[in-house]
Amino acid sequence: MRKLERETVLAAIAGFVTEHFPDVLAGQIERLTASQLIHQSLELVEFVLHLEDRLGIEIDINNLGEALITSTFGQLADRIVAIGNG
């Protein structure tokens, strides 16, 4: 199985952010937390499903837990790389 790279995850995150929050500058994304942008559970789930689609992995929201709202997108990318590379 192909190794999941951090850049790939960040690109998938950026794809969601730029589509849903066009005012956010690409250079800022890695330092933002999801909770600074996403305020509804439906959007949060859509974000996770978007990552599953783009990255071809299964992500359990409970596994990410509170990191989903407390971590920066950069830190979240590290967690997802770890999940994806099992």
Binding site: H39, Q40, L42, G65, E66, T70
Partner: protein, 346 residues
């Protein structure tokens, strides 16, 4: 013999609690848990994640955060059932229902009573439920209890012409804000209380919902969702919180593989609202459009997860819309998957 849903009663009972109010009520308890500061902060953030955004639920136990003894919990459950039975009867009284019911099947997974809920309904409604009626309580169906009840009630023999199915679920009577277990907090933030009733008849009528097919699949995984024993009562627990959603998704997809679904026929879907992630990911796997999922999402936003009562509320919403072909799918403890389909008669 055909069975026809002639009425669904889905009363709005209890007090509405929004996510922000619940979070504000829960945080003082989280902050006094016997945990090291980092673990406590982690749990607090987990609760914040579970209660993100706008969602409400109905709560039938006014003091749900102050239940400390067995008798506190059991009495809260009994009081909630009394209120739910009153609410069901009030709404049923306004509907066109038969002169008498030959059977009452009452369901709850969140508590136990003697006399049972069916007996209490008979007591509260003696003019419609005669002394010779079959009265039976069915317990421990978890989130599939409403769908299991629908299957059971629709398969009773011809001597039971008019059957009343009543579901009363009071997850908040299990509340334990002194537990450090994450699954307990997930349950607390996910569930709401609710009740529903269905009149099933052996006689068709214009606008009745014919119960066409029912399916069920027991998948094993008994530990996945279960009651755990706290110091004074039982409480919601899961065996593997980190892998819970994936295991549920996989078990549901495996179960669906055993059902002979015919794609593209249904007008409307009722999916048990176990949680937002499960709703959306299941819909994706089933090939449902967002529009088809909207009734289930709408219910979850307003009532959260009422356990077995949710599916009947969503079915009622679909039934009173223009939908003609309905499907339902529920999943829960067992691990069990229950599904069915029906059509509205012209």
């Amino acid at each position: 013999m055909g069975r026809y849903v002639r009425a669904i009663c889905a009363p709005v009972i209890g007090v509405e609690w929004a996510n922000d109010a619940l979070l504000e009520a829960l945080l003082p308890y989280v902050r006094t848990l016997p945990l090291a500061a980092p673990e406590r902060l982690s749990l607090e953030n987990f609760v914040r994640l579970l209660l993100i955004g706008w969602r409400t639920r109905r709560i039938l136990c006014p003091d749900f955060l102050e239940l400390r003894s067995f008798s506190d919990h059991a009495a809260a459950f009994e009081a909630a059932v009394t209120e739910a039975v009153r609410g069901l009867r009030r709404e049923l009284d306004q509907m066109e229902v038969p002169a008498v019911f030959d059977a009452v099947v009452a369901i709850s997974s969140t508590g136990n009573l003697l006399p049972g809920i069916a007996d209490r309904l008979a007591e509260a409604w003696p003019d419609r439920i005669p002394a010779e009626a079959l009265l039976v309580d069915v317990s421990n169906g978890g989130c599939t209890s409403g769908a299991r009840g629908l299957r059971l009630a629709s398969r009773l023999g011809p001597e039971y012409k008019n059957v009343l199915l009543a579901v009363v679920e009071v997850p908040t009577s299990l509340t334990d804000p002194c537990s450090v277990d994450r699954a307990n907090w997930q349950g607390l933030c996910t569930f709401g209380d609710g009740a529903a009733a269905v009149w099933l008849s052996d006689e068709p009528a214009p606008g009745a919902l014919e119960v066409d097919r029912v399916y069920s699949w027991h998948s094993g995984l008994p530990e996945l969702i279960r009651w755990q024993y706290g110091p004074s009562y039982y409480r919601f627990a899961v065996s593997d919180l980190g892998g819970f959603e994936q295991k549920v998704r996989n078990a549901v997809f495996a179960a669906i593989g055993h059902f002979d679904w015919e794609r593209g026929r249904a007008d409307a879907w009722a999916l048990h609202p176990a949680g937002m992630m499960l709703l959306l990911s299941l819909a994706k796997k089933l090939g449902l459009e967002r529009q088809e999922l909207e009734p289930s999402i709408r219910h979850f936003r307003k009532f959260s997860n009422m356990s077995g009562a949710s599916l009947l509320h969503i079915l009622r919403d679909l039934w009173i819309s223009d939908a003609k072909e309905l499907r339902w799918l529920a999943m829960g403890a067992g691990f069990h998957v229950e599904a069915g389909r029906g059509k509205v008669l012209e």
